[in-house]
């Protein structure tokens, strides 16, 4: 398998090229794009599984060294691929979930004339994501990082001519927000290179300079890298692009903006874990915790299906960073895995609903769909239970693990972080079942005369069923120690790869008793069940509660704040974008009036000078004689003075 590592990214690349050619060919040939692309990702998945099994069976990592990509002076970046425990696990998710979403997309995009272009992008995405994950250096990670960003941009804007160009705007917003993150990533890499003289993971790990990686340098570099992660993984302060990214086709939201690309930031932090000093990890934890909570509040009252899911994705990604920040990288990656299953499932389910409702995305205009779409309903219910953390589902295990780790890590902020996480869990359970109830329960709030909801074709429901199964059993890989002896394999899986970081401990820290873990699990289970019940109870008949909350004097302001998404977009627009646009106009004026004005003034100055001097040569003999006489007089006078 070691020698075939290159095929994992290259197969989808090849698929993309074929799809591109099919697109150019046009006509009936485009129908082949879906199967071709799916096959390419499927093959990639098989190879990933084989490689993963090799790693499981004892290999530390599979490495394949390619030639030099960049070789300038001391900067060497090779096409080196590494599949170790971390990248192997990520690859399973990327190619596995990617494969199911490809299958689903064949059905979803069946009637779109741009489907060959779509599958070309989708395959290019899988290619870029594989490079991101498998690349053996920060530089290659960055290559994949930019590649997935580009594909995200192109896929969000896939329907570029719809809705008055809104998807294209959303795509641009995503790209630019990510570029802000890239700015940090780049500078972080420069600091790394300046200190270690290499960007290879292995080179950095083995470097003698590791011992002096401390203080402001380490802190600065770690936070700059993390800024990159907040862009890609939609965390505060750069999360604003993700909700808008829902303008893309739903399979894109599932694959890129839920299951894989947005977890790239988490992957990067895990990969770079050994470079993060404890203080930086604490920042990561806080950002993650706060993002989790804030995004959950934003999801509370959204009306559009995909918006709710988008904010919930931001929120769940917050959990992953919370885990990273507490040094629980295994828990973070565990949640990456389970979240990929159930969030992809929810998005695809939402897509199925939207599909069946003739492109309706407003949950207020649905209701009672469980009768019309039994498979979609059942699988969506499974996804919702997982997201809400219903006991014994995969989402329960991974989320509970994170909450437990926030306390177990014993950082100075442990209880504050746990409270944030627990509150988020409650909100999550509530809004998830608000959404579920609005869609599937109660009476039909759509115009039954015009809208005829229907179940989606097999190509779409079978991937849903598979994802639902995975969501249910996905927790098995990380069963907690209170349930089975030693816990699931996931807990110690990453230990050889990620640094065993000791986070900051509060003064007088004492390890929390392991028996307490069970109590924490019971608490999170209870939180989930209560949240679910409240959500169902409040919305099973319809969305009336939202209106009451909005009008009530007590809850009105909070409702406005949450529904208005804390007005972050507006604040950015007002305080960052508008001033920058103004500055740019100011520069344009300054350049024309001042810089160029000066240049033209110099030109005019010479012309003026010429005009004045020209008078001397007026062509009249008399004035020449006068000048001559004057000149002679001056010369004579000078001579006289010299002689005297």
């Amino acid at each position: 398998m070691q020698d075939l590592l290159w095929a994992i990214p290259l197969l989808p690349l090849l698929g993309a090229v074929v799809c591109g050619l099919l697109h150019a060919r046009g006509g009936g040939a485009r129908r082949l794009a879906g199967p071709v692309a799916t096959l390419a990702v499927g093959a990639s998945f098989v190879l990933s599984v084989l490689a993963f099994l090799e790693v499981r069976s004892g290999h530390e990592a599979l490495r394949q060294l390619g030639g030099d990509w960049i070789a300038v002076d001391t900067l060497r970046v090779g096409f080196d691929l590494t599949l170790d425990r971390l990248s192997g696990f990520m690859m399973l998710i990327v190619a596995g979930v990617g494969f199911l979403i490809h299958v689903y997309s064949i059905g979803y995009m069946a009637h779109d004339e741009g489907k060959a272009r779509f599958f070309a992008y989708l395959n290019l995405f899988v290619f870029s994501m594989s490079v991101l994950v498998l690349g053996g250096s920060f530089a290659l990670l960055f290559v994949g990082w930019e590649g997935v960003g580009l594909m995200s941009y192109l896929l969000i804007g896939f329907w570029y001519d719809r809705d008055d160009g809104w998807p294209a705007k959303a795509g641009q917003k995503a790209f630019v927000a990510n570029r802000v993150g890239d700015f940090g990533f780049l500078l972080g890499m420069f600091l790394l290179f300046g200190h270690f003289g290499t960007l290879d993971y292995a080179g950095i790990l083995e470097s003698d300079a590791m011992g002096t990686w401390t203080g402001g340098l380490a802190m600065g570099a770690a936070l700059l890298l993390f800024l990159g992660a907040t862009g890609k993984s939609a965390q505060i302060p750069l999360f604003v692009w993700l909700p808008d990214a829902m303008a893309g086709p739903t399979p894109v939201s599932a694959l890129i903006h839920a299951a894989t690309m947005v977890t790239a930031g988490v992957y990067m932090v895990c990969r770079a874990s050994f470079l993060f000093p404890p203080e930086a990890l604490l920042v990561v934890a806080w950002i993650g915790g706060i993002t989790a909570f804030v995004a959950a509040t934003m999801a509370l009252f959204q009306r559009e299906l995909k918006k709710v899911l988008a904010y919930s994705t931001v929120s769940q990604l917050g959990y992953m960073f919370l885990a990273c920040g507490c040094g629980a990288f295994s828990a973070a990656i565990f949640h990456v895995g389970t979240h990929a299953f159930f969030k992809a499932l929810l998005f695809l389910g939402a897509g199925s609903v939207i599909h069946g409702m003739h492109e309706e995305n407003d949950a207020f205009k649905m209701g009672g769909l469980r009768r019309h779409m039994p498979w979609t309903h059942l699988t969506f219910l499974v996804g919702s239970l997982c997201l809400a953390g219903f006991p014994l589902t995969s989402g329960f295990f991974s989320k509970d693990e994170i909450l437990w780790k926030t306390v177990e890590a014993g950082s100075p902020a442990a209880w504050a972080l746990w409270t944030l996480g627990a509150a988020t869990a409650a909100l999550t359970a509530f809004y998830t079942f608000r959404l579920y109830s609005l869609i599937f329960l109660g009476g039909e709030r759509f115009d039954a005369a015009h809208v005829h909801p229907h179940e989606s074709p097999r190509l779409m429901t079978v991937p849903l069923a598979l994802l639902a199964a995975l969501s249910l059993v996905g927790g098995l890989m990380g069963l907690p120690a209170w349930l089975v002896h030693e816990g699931g394999w996931m807990h110690h899986w990453l230990e050889p790869v990620v640094m065993q970081v000791q986070p900051l401990h509060a003064a007088g820290y004492e390890p929390v008793d392991h028996h307490a873990e069970l109590w924490f699990a019971l608490a999170s289970g209870a939180i989930a069940v209560v949240g679910i019940l409240l959500g169902v109870a409040a919305y099973r008949r319809g969305p009336a509660l939202d209106g009451r909350l909005e009008r009530s004097r007590l809850t009105g302001p909070a409702y406005q704040l949450f529904f208005g998404k804390w007005f972050v977009d507006e604040i950015y627009e007002l305080f960052i974008l508008a001033p920058l646009a103004l500055l740019s106009r100011l520069c344009a004026w300054f350049d024309l009036a001042v810089v160029d004005g000066l240049v033209n003034r110099v030109g005019q100055g010479f012309r003026e000078l010429g005009r004045v001097n020209r008078r001397v040569q007026d062509g009249r003999l008399q004035s020449y004689a006068l000048w001559m006489a004057g000149g002679t007089a001056v010369l004579l006078a000078w001579l006289v003075i010299q002689i005297m």
């Binding site: 300038v72 290559v143 570029y160 001519d161 008055d164 294209a168 780049l186 420069f190």
Partner: protein, 507 residues
């Protein structure tokens, strides 16, 4: 002397220019076809002749290669020799020149329309001048070619340009001329400075590389000579605050004028900085380097802001050039191997991406006779091939890894970060702004619904237009995926230049 390859390469376009003048064909309209065939043939042939230069180039040699030298004329103190040679600094730019000119000859006909004979004459003359500038190894030869390439663009803009073509062409000419005069004075001064000969006696020579290898000018004089050269080259780059001629020149120039200007002419400035300023005035270079880095950073950020504010596609691309060339100035004066090599790669990368953008702007201009971004929208729907190329060129321009722009930007920023991290942090903002203005343009031109009915009937790119863009697109990928092909050829020469600068610091 030994190899006749370089003189053939340099003077083939001149021969073509003469042939174009004397060929008995009507110089305009349909009848001008033989003239075009001839020019295209010469352009292609020149490119083909440059291929053995590329393949025959030995990357392991730092000094001049394929040299050619014959006595030319005698000044009272030096023998000026007609000497040409190629080295690691010029090899990429020579290839870029022959490629871009071939592209121009095959793409220009649709927008020239009148006085074709003169147009072709000027362009062929310009190609001779540009190749001469890159290949000259004698100060006076260099200066002659420098002037030879300057005049044709004046006519190209002044005759075939837009509404304000006279203003733009005169501004371009006077601005560049002002710099040239300073440079000429400095050249005369330098050739009057003796170098140490083999037998210990003073030797007077106008050989550039001899001066670059052993000039020993007192630092206080270096300052003035450095400034004279630097100003001439910074005007040409153009760097802030000498940049305002560029948008005027670009906007008024016909497409092919813009393509040559962006593709090759702007690199004369950055080439000159590395060829002359660094090795001949190493002390002054070290002294001024921080300031020039600052000028580079200002160019990057300020140019990007200016580009953002534009409503004319061509003006936007013109300002983006200012931003992208800022990177080159920054990298050059970082005075380390990464910065220098990044700068040269960035020259080539900008030299393929920006001409592609200008060609693309020209292609819709020929269809709709407007360059206002607001007049477009939804073009991707009717011109999918156009959209493909425009997005690709944009991505190459904003530095997406895997395409050409990234390699230059990344190595330059890395190199300059080692020299001055705070300034580089500001420069790296260019990565963000670059995406903002380019993607805004792409979005407003290509995406959204078609608002203007006139755009509904737009014809997609023809096979010829695609073929013209194809070599540039190939280079986007070639440079992006396999930059070592290029950097391996530049490394030795640039290391030698850098060694000169380093040595001055240790004195």
């Amino acid at each position: 002397m030994d190899s006749p390859l370089l003189p053939i390469l340099t003077f083939l376009p001149l021969l073509g220019a003469i042939l174009v003048l004397v060929l008995p064909a009507r110089g305009e309209g349909e009848a001008a076809t033989p003239l075009w065939r001839l020019a295209q043939g010469i352009g292609l042939l020149t490119f083909l002749v440059s291929i053995p230069v590329w393949t025959g180039f030995d990357p392991d040699v730092a000094g001049p290669q394929l040299g050619f030298s014959v006595p030319w004329f005698h000044l009272n103190y030096v023998d000026v020799r007609m000497s040409l040679a190629v080295d690691g600094l010029s090899i990429l730019l020579v290839m870029l020149t022959t490629l871009i000119m071939a592209v121009v000859f095959f793409s220009a006909r649709s927008h020239v329309g009148r006085r074709d004979r003169e147009f072709l004459f000027w362009l062929l003359l310009m190609e001779c001048g540009m190749l001469g500038v890159f290949l000259a190894t004698d100060f006076f030869v260099f200066y002659v070619f420098w002037e030879v390439m300057l005049i044709p663009l004046y006519f190209v803009i002044g005759i075939w340009g837009g509404a304000r073509r006279l203003y733009a062409s005169i501004k371009f000419f006077l601005y560049t001329m002002a710099g040239s005069v300073l440079m000429l004075l400095a050249i005369i001064w330098i050739t009057g400075m003796p170098l140490a000969g083999a037998d210990g006696r003073d030797v007077f020579t106008s050989d550039i590389l001899a001066h670059a290898a052993q000039s020993n000018i007192p630092p206080e004089i270096q300052t003035w000579l450095f400034l004279a050269f630097a100003v001439a080259f910074l005007i040409k780059v153009p760097a802030f605050p000498f940049h305002t001629w560029l948008p005027d020149a670009h906007v008024e120039a016909p497409t092919s004028g813009s393509v040559v200007l962006a593709g090759v002419l702007l690199k004369m400035g950055t080439y000159g900085l590395i060829r002359f300023c660094l090795p001949i005035f190493p002390d002054a270079t070290r002294f001024f380097a921080p300031w020039l880095m600052l000028i580079g950073v200002i160019g990057i950020v300020y140019g990007a802001w200016l580009a953002w504010a534009q409503s004319d596609m061509k003006k936007l691309v013109a300002y983006s050039s200012i931003s992208h060339l800022g990177y080159i100035v920054l990298g050059t004066f970082a005075l380390n191997a990464k910065g220098l090599q990044g700068s040269v790669i960035q020259m080539v990368s900008h030299g393929v991406a920006t001409p592609a953008l200008f060609l693309l702007v020209g292609m819709v201009y020929e269809r709709r006779h407007t360059r206002a971004i607001a007049d477009y929208g939804g073009v991707a729907k009717v011109m999918p091939r156009y959209a493909f190329f425009l997005v690709l060129a944009t991505l190459a321009s904003v530095g997406l890894p895997g395409l050409s722009g990234f390699i230059g930007e990344f190595t330059i920023l890395l190199g300059s970060f080692m020299a001055n991290s705070w300034l580089t942090a500001v420069a790296a903002l260019g990565v963000v702004f670059g995406a903002v203005y380019m993607l805004s343009m792409v979005r407003r031109v290509l995406f959204g619904p078609i608002r203007n009915e006139e755009n509904r009937g737009l014809k997609d790119l023809s096979a010829r237009e695609c073929l013209v863009l194809a070599p540039l697109v190939i280079l986007f990928f070639w440079i992006g995926v396999s930059p070592t092909t290029f950097t391996s050829r530049t490394a030795k020469t640039l290391a030698q230049i850098q060694a000169r600068v380093d040595a001055s610091g240790q004195r």
